[in-house]
């Protein structure tokens, strides 16, 4: 009994001696405001900016999965000659009705898609309204501080300057993705990315009959970004919400199966102005029936979550 007690005392002391210096060290490395110049040395400044002694020895391979941002998709739609359709946007009034984390996450992505679309098409008041709606959903997800009152004011003050609004939106959603990672909320990040992707394709396919050939090609090309999205969703530890999302996207994948992509080698060449151009790559083929199937399947999954 005494031996057991001694062992316990020893392990308690050992753990405490191990833990305390680690605590002091890591508390000193947090995301803090810049240290006063007088007290910072080169070494200290580096410690505060992303460097510390390695905590593991064995090298590994980190795989990132990424999808185009809602702003990128909205820019693509604009360049493809799409017209702004206010009637296609998700109702702002529905935002308060999403009580679960899953629905809040997906709808945050959907509203981010609408926000980006509004920003790119210079719908200034609508942009601020959608940013405010994203803020409400962020509050529900416990990250309301990312879209602060100051940020809303900044957006309001710059509402007529598209580039400023684009910066605000991209910075905000980058910060959100970072925070979700920090807080171990990768599921939320994945569902938000899915919501944003769904809304982008949904908005792009609302008026297919009057769409340009360029827009139709851009829609068909989303088969590649859907692969990126599915890779992202599969990269997380499976949860019921992620599985549900992947199941819901099943019919969309089936519709995109009608798009054929022939892989060809790509090559980088220098253009006359010195710009490097990557040419070649895949050839994308589709027909009208496939686009209709994509349009219908994306509307079904979008309306399943945005009800």
């Amino acid at each position: 009994m005494k031996l057991k007690h001694d062992r316990f005392t020893l392990s308690l002391r050992l753990a405490t001696w191990m833990a305390l210096p680690m605590m002091f060290f890591f508390v000193g490395c947090g995301e803090t405001p810049e240290a006063p110049a007088a007290s910072s040395t080169t070494e200290t400044a580096m410690d505060e900016e992303g460097m510390m002694p390695a905590r593991r020895q064995k090298a590994f391979k980190k795989i990132f999965h990424a999808v185009p941002s809602p702003i990128e998709t909205a820019l693509l739609l604009e360049r493809s000659g799409i017209r702004f359709d206010a009637g296609a946007l998700h109702s702002l009034d529905n935002a308060s009705g999403y009580a679960t984390t899953d629905l809040q996450s997906v709808n945050l992505g959907i509203y981010a898609g609408d926000l980006s679309y509004s920003v790119i098409f210079n719908q200034n008041q609508q942009s601020v309204d959608y940013l405010n709606t994203c803020r409400r959903l962020c509050d529900g997800l416990g990250v309301g501080d990312i879209i602060s009152a100051d940020l809303i004011d900044r957006a309001n003050n710059n509402r007529d300057i598209r580039d400023s609004l684009v910066d605000i939106v991209t910075e905000t959603f980058y910060a959100l993705n970072g925070r979700f990672r920090e807080n171990g909320m990768e599921e939320v990040s994945g569902l938000m990315a899915a919501g944003g992707w769904i809304e982008g394709v949904y908005l792009g396919t609302r008026n297919l009959n009057s769409s340009t050939d360029d827009l139709k090609l851009r829609i068909a090309e989303q088969k590649m970004t859907l692969e990126n999205l599915m890779g992202l969703l599969r990269s997380y530890t499976p949860t019921a919400a992620l599985t549900d999302m992947m199941t819901a996207l099943g019919p969309v994948e089936a519709a995109f199966a009608g798009v054929t992509i022939t892989e060809n080698a790509a090559a980088a060449t220098a253009a006359e102005d010195g710009t490097v151009v990557i040419s070649g790559g895949p050839e994308v083929n589709y027909d009208e029936a496939t686009l209709t199937a994509i349009s219908e399947s994306i509307a079904a999954v979008r309306n399943q979550y945005a009800k």
Binding site: A19, E31, F64, H65, A66, N228
Partner: protein, 144 residues
């Protein structure tokens, strides 16, 4: 007694959880201060492709790049990790760019046709007795 026994484990678990969250927050600060400005007028993709890496590590990102759009691919790492190298591969795995002899941490290019490409990043090995880890961020900006 049982509660007391659990104390050291709880402390360690708390410290480790705190450490991981703290390292991520640290990387977010690093990326914001040191990497983001290098995208200049390119519109940032809002994906968070940042990790804490050590010498010998590799990182890979697969992404779709849209036709007729200009991109800046930036591989931004803490200087303690040395000169990071990166390659861009097409969808068949063929190399189309290698940073090895370029002395630049970014690659500006335009894509003629929409395509998926893979960016592969290597952190160089080191003979140092004490190895350091640092933040590495793969950032993609686009314009035009």
């Amino acid at each position: 007694m049982t509660a007391i026994k659990k104390f050291p484990l709880a402390v360690l678990a708390l410290v480790m959880t705190f450490t991981v969250a703290d390292a991520t927050a640290q990387c977010r600060t690093f990326t914001k201060k040191r990497c983001l400005p290098q995208l200049e007028d390119y519109v940032q993709n809002d994906n968070y492709n940042t990790a804490v890496l050590i010498p010998g590590d590799e990182a890979e990102l697969e992404l779709t790049f849209f036709g007729d759009r200009a991109y800046r691919l930036l591989v931004c790492g803490h200087p303690v990790l040395g000169d990071l190298s990166f390659q861009v591969l097409d969808s068949r795995g063929n190399g189309i760019y290698d940073s090895a002899d370029k002395e630049s941490d970014h690659f500006d290019f335009r894509v003629a046709n929409t395509q998926q490409m893979t960016i592969r990043v290597q952190v160089p090995q080191t003979d140092a007795v004490i190895q350091h880890e640092g933040c590495v961020s793969i950032m993609v900006g686009s314009k035009g």
